[in-house]
């Protein structure tokens, strides 16, 4: 018995060495100083006749006993030339659980792969029965083999899938437009009892984070330029820098990004879980178009709130700039505010509001679309949420670039 080194596996070389007995001897033992008094696992491989091996299992074979790997045991026994058959002796086997089953199952699989016949007769009856249970799979429960398409087929499938997705997006946008049109013609009614809480959720509850982020962005913009402005002695231009950039673009962009992460994601998650709970199916079969009932109020709330929140962000961005102007650049508050009023025009604000309106539409569309496209599982809801945020932000940035180009062409 080689119990000196706990849980050590003796590979073929070791057997020839310390044991010196050819194929007979202990391959490994799980003896551990930490578990005195309880028999450890033990596996011994003996050569029986000219073509058979006897695997003798003894001691405790449980998952927590740090059991050996079947492949390693087989390497020592099965790699010997001429072995064609494997038998078991489990007379000394103590406590066991699925750890033993896993070991034996692997041993059988590995042996059969190596062309070694396995004789099950030496195994305990219960082990044998459980192994039989695990190896029979009802034919009709086996998953069908996914068809592997040639490259042309895969390319075709990709094109068809893209086409289907495009049609889905267009249908959704079309339905949303029709719902908005219906709102103006009076064909579609908004349920005010639902719309009020939505406005509160999208608008009022976003105020704390918008206050914080808006102020910080103004602060960062002003800080970034403070050193250069002071070197040139034109500290007063901090009002131009913060006022114009925030009102024209930065305010709208920051608001859009916050709303994409906060509200767009929430819409996708809400609609997605309604999809999972069959609530959307229930609306469809009841003859209530889900786009009118669920999507329209959400889009409307977000489209109304984005420009309003942008004005709020603009204000706090300028407050942030003011903090730097007063504390770092030694300007008086009056000077800063007067300069702001001089340089920031109505056009700057309107440019920001146009941006905000466009961003609001895009975030609302992306959030609701991803929610409605959600699959019927919990992971689907997670994916829909992620996808809503990514789509919203990408669309927002693209739209921002396009609007900047349009404004510059219009010389605004």
């Amino acid at each position: 018995m080689a119990a000196a080194d706990p849980r050590r596996l003796y590979l073929p070389g070791d057997i020839e060495g310390p044991q010196g007995g050819g194929m007979t001897g202990t391959i490994a033992t799980g003896a551990s100083a930490a578990t005195p008094g309880r028999p450890p696992w033990e596996v011994t491989v003996e050569r029986l006749g000219h073509d058979a091996c006897l695997v003798r299992l003894a001691g405790s074979w449980r998952l927590r006993d740090h059991l050996p790997r079947a492949a390693e045991v087989l390497r020592t026994s099965g790699s010997a030339p001429g072995v064609r058959r494997l038998t078991f002796d489990t007379a000394q086997l103590g406590a066991w659980d699925t750890g033993l089953l896993t070991f034996i199952r692997h041993l059988i699989e590995e042996s059969e792969r190596a062309g070694i016949e396995v004789d099950h007769t030496g195994l305990p009856v219960d082990v044998e029965r459980l192994l039989a249970l695990a190896s029979t799979v009802p034919t009709h429960l086996m998953a069908p083999e996914p068809a592997r398409l040639p490259w042309l087929g895969r390319a075709g499938t990709a094109v068809v899938d893209t086409g289907t997705a495009a049609v889905e997006v267009l249908t959704f946008v079309g339905e949303a437009c029709a719902a908005f049109a219906g709102l103006f013609t009076g064909r579609v009614k908004i349920r005010w009892s639902q719309f009020g809480p939505l406005l509160h959720e999208v608008g009022v509850r976003a105020l704390p984070i918008i206050t914080l982020v808006g102020t910080l962005v103004g602060l960062i913009l002003a800080f970034g330029a403070a050193v250069q402005l002071r070197q040139l002695g034109v500290q007063i231009f901090v009002a131009d820098l913060v006022g114009i950039s925030v009102s024209q673009e930065v305010g709208a962009l920051i608001t859009a990004i916050i709303l994409a992460g906060r509200t767009g994601a929430a819409f996708a998650a809400q609609l997605g879980s309604m999809q999972v709970n069959e609530e959307i199916d229930a609306l469809t079969t009841a003859g209530i178009p889900p786009v009118q009932f669920l999507v329209l109020p959400r889009m409307l709330a977000l489209i109304l709130m984005t420009p309003l929140l942008t004005i709020y962000t603009d204000l706090f961005g300028m407050v942030g700039g003011g903090l730097v102007a007063v504390t770092v650049l030694d300007l008086s508050l009056t000077t800063y505010v007067t300069r702001l009023i001089q340089v920031v025009t109505m056009t700057d604000f309107l440019m920001g509001l146009v941006r905000a309106s466009v961003f609001g539409v895009l975030i609302a569309l992306a959030g609701c679309l991803r929610g409605m496209q959600c699959g019927r599982s919990a992971s689907g809801v997670g994916l829909a949420t992620t996808s809503a945020v990514v789509t919203s932000i990408v669309l927002t940035i693209i739209a921002d670039g396009l609007l900047s180009m349009i404004f510059s062409v219009l010389r605004l």
Binding site: V137, A147, E278, A286
Partner: protein, 262 residues
């Protein structure tokens, strides 16, 4: 079709629902093919079969949520899948559906869940709608729970609220998807009794998708058995007759809860 029982009761009365040569598929994956059966007025029709055989998918085809790969569904002789969507919406208004997951609108109270349909599709005043919603909830034993939200009631109560909502517009046809899922035997039995009472009282045609053997035998007048392996209907007829004389070993195994050799 593998075997249509001689008891197939399709003669005489004009069917309320007829399923004609229906093939169901998700993309290229065929779920069931060649389904043909009829549901007569005021009968309780059971769609049965093992898990994953396509029972719920069949229900989605019957209620207009999923278009068939081939074939059609007729309501009183009128095709569901060849009419334009607006007409299909009108046809669907005669139908109530109880979903497996209840599908109660989570942002509305139980009463509002029932009332929404009345608000959308009737000219009733606010008070009348409230009364009608309270009556439907009382019919399913939920009097006093009008102002609870779906998340605040037990599974069995939510199931019954789903039934009350499905009954909101007094539908001619009621579909139930696995109604006894997640219910204890007593609640499941109560739901069966309720379905029988509603059929007898209101003359509603009921289509139940289930694999609950007790329920199948207790309420089913007629049935169809969908088989997972052959992907088609394997039996059609009165479930009691199918129990007594199963046309196929797998139908027998299902109805008698036998173990099938694996």
């Amino acid at each position: 079709m593998a075997s249509t029982s001689s008891l197939s009761p399709d003669r005489g009365v004009r069917p309320r629902i007829a399923v004609v040569d229906l093939d169901m598929a998700y993309g290229g994956l065929v779920i069931q093919r060649n389904l043909s059966f009829t549901v007569r007025p005021a009968e309780i029709f059971v769609v049965m079969g093992g898990s994953g055989c396509g029972k719920s998918t069949l229900l989605r085809h019957l209620v207009g949520l999923k278009a068939p790969a081939r074939g059609d569904v007729l309501y009183d002789g009128q095709s569901l899948w060849t009419v334009d969507p607006a007409e299909r919406e009108d046809m669907m208004r005669r139908v109530g559906v109880v979903y497996q997951s209840n599908a109660l609108w989570s942002s509305l109270t139980l009463s509002e869940n029932v009332a929404l349909l009345l608000e959308e599709f009737t000219d009733l005043g606010e008070g009348e709608i409230r009364d009608a919603a309270a009556l439907k909830l009382a019919l399913v034993g939920l009097a006093g729970f009008e102002d609870y939200y779906p998340s605040e009631v037990s599974g069995g109560m939510a199931k019954r609220a789903g039934l009350a909502r499905a009954l909101a517009l007094d539908p001619e046809i009621l579909f139930l998807d696995e109604p006894s899922t997640g219910l204890d035997p007593i609640s499941a039995r109560l739901l069966d009794d309720l379905i029988l009472d509603l059929r007898d009282g209101l003359g509603t045609t009921v289509v139940v998708v289930t694999h609950d053997l007790a329920s199948i035998q207790a309420i089913g007048d007629n049935s169809v058995f969908l088989d997972t392996e052959t992907k088609t209907m394997m039996a059609h007829g009165d479930p009691k007759a199918l129990l007594a004389d199963p046309p196929h070993p797998r139908v027998r195994a299902f109805l008698h809860r036998e173990s099938v050799s694996r």
